[in-house]
Symmetry: C2
């Protein structure tokens, strides 16, 4: 089983990395970029096939130490 | 229109960040983690509504400077 976690800065938080990429895209000639948000992507391969337990454990891990809940949001997705 | 780019290390490339997260998960008591891959997540908001042009331009940008094609793969997705 595989899980994906995407961690992004909260909308209200300044995202300097995203701003940098946005400026870079403009300088490279790509017009019409309204905003860029940069986050982390984690792909976790699990031995277990119990989706419910996996989701519960990963929700906990994502909240506790894979993201910083003060400034970041995360999205957890269990795939196949 | 919105686009998502996920940049991950190629499978053959050592992923020390992923290994660190895997070890951390094990130390925190989460058993059965086979592997962790850590990558970058980019969400790009575009003014244009022309999916084909956007895809072509972002493919180029992703290949040229949002990823390092020698050691990284990327996946581009145009959403709504």
């Amino acid at each position: 089983m595989k899980a994906r976690i995407i961690v992004t800065p909260k909308k209200a938080v300044v995202d300097p990395q995203g701003k940098t990429v946005q400026n870079a895209l403009e300088h490279m000639g790509y017009q019409g970029v309204k905003a860029v948000h940069v986050g982390k992507y984690l792909e976790i391969e699990l031995e277990s096939t119990d989706r419910e337990t996996a989701r519960r454990q990963l929700e906990e891990a994502a909240h506790k130490f894979l993201s910083n809940p003060v400034i970041e949001d995360y999205k957890l997705e269990i795939v196949d």
